[in-house]
Symmetry: C2
Subunit: 198 residues, 2 copies
Amino acid sequence: MEVSHKKKSHHHGDLREALVAAGIELLNEGGLSALTLRKCAGRAGVSHAAPAHHFDGLNGLLTAIAARGFHIFSRSMIDERKKSGSEPKAMLAAICQGYLQFAQDNAALYNLMFTSENLGFDDEELARRSVAAYQILAEGCAPFASRTEDGEKIEIMIWSLVHGFAGLSHKARASNGEHPASKVVFDDILSILELKAE
Amino acid sequence: MEVSHKKKSHHHGDLREALVAAGIELLNEGGLSALTLRKCAGRAGVSHAAPAHHFDGLNGLLTAIAARGFHIFSRSMIDERKKSGSEPKAMLAAICQGYLQFAQDNAALYNLMFTSENLGFDDEELARRSVAAYQILAEGCAPFASRTEDGEKIEIMIWSLVHGFAGLSHKARASNGEHPASKVVFDDILSILELKAE
DNA sequence: AGTGTTACCTTGACATCGTCAAGTTAAATT
DNA sequence: AATTTAACTTGACGATGTCAAGGTAACACT
């Protein structure tokens, strides 16, 4: 008996992973309304009821997809951070760049991760991956937390800022560019903050 | 023939309004997944296909609900602003308070308004109401736009901040209080900005 | 090697959903 | 009063999530 993850047994090679991948594909192609248990099953080449043996219904699949989303999300932030120098301000800007890049390239997945009502809060993998993503942003904020101010407040402020900007940018792209947020780039906003390290 | 709004004719008094109200009720009670054309029709006391004569399918109803949402949203910000003094900083804080109060009391409706893919972008009422809501926030930001900095950037920054904070607060309430954003209040974040009028 | 067990998947059914076509009833118009 | 039109109903269709029951291939064990 296996530990429940990574089933590589018979009929299908790794159905669980194939279903998650198919779900992300559908999300990118047609948004949340295009993501369907039956269509995921179809793309994976199995019958419509097969997913039930790997996930607790649709919400279970959504939870697994969100968990995978947070993994990709973290990678996007880390990749950008690696490309920046070691200067605190540049690093934070790079992390935010990775944040916004992911949100832009995976809009439907991002919304699923952050605004879905039906995710399993208690899922271990989802909790771990989302906390890990937050850690990256928090590390980027750490140099700017002076001893008088609570570092947590800085984190929440930056997180709110980038999260909010991502959401508004989505709407800016949906509307036909009439949206106020479309003309402004995030770096300008960060510079207004006049953050100072230490 | 009427102008399409405010049908007070026969069988039902004002079905259009009743359907929107029922939709908001369902949204508050069970989230987006509980919002159904057929259930709205049922609550309004009409048959399942009646809504089709007032809205362009489900997306049309969602659009009307979102438009009504922006109206309530604007009222919430205006109400709080009235309760504050005339000092610029207090006014902006009050507007944000009304913003966050609405987002908290109507979480599902708020998410529908800001993250739904299926709203009619081109709907006249929705566009008008959402622009009106943005105006309120923009007016609150105006005193802080120095001539050297583009006022629009300040608006986007504040909007991103409060929008992002609202979204994170939703997740903080969904998770069981373990979320970082739950311990911090928005006023603390606003004070970090050290905004100065003029 | 043969047998039983179990994990993996299929088939079929059901209720619910959005949508469409056609019909019905009541109001408005002429 | 007759006709037109607006408001709603009825019935049907395909798609969806979920459940129950069955089948099949891999594995375990004697």
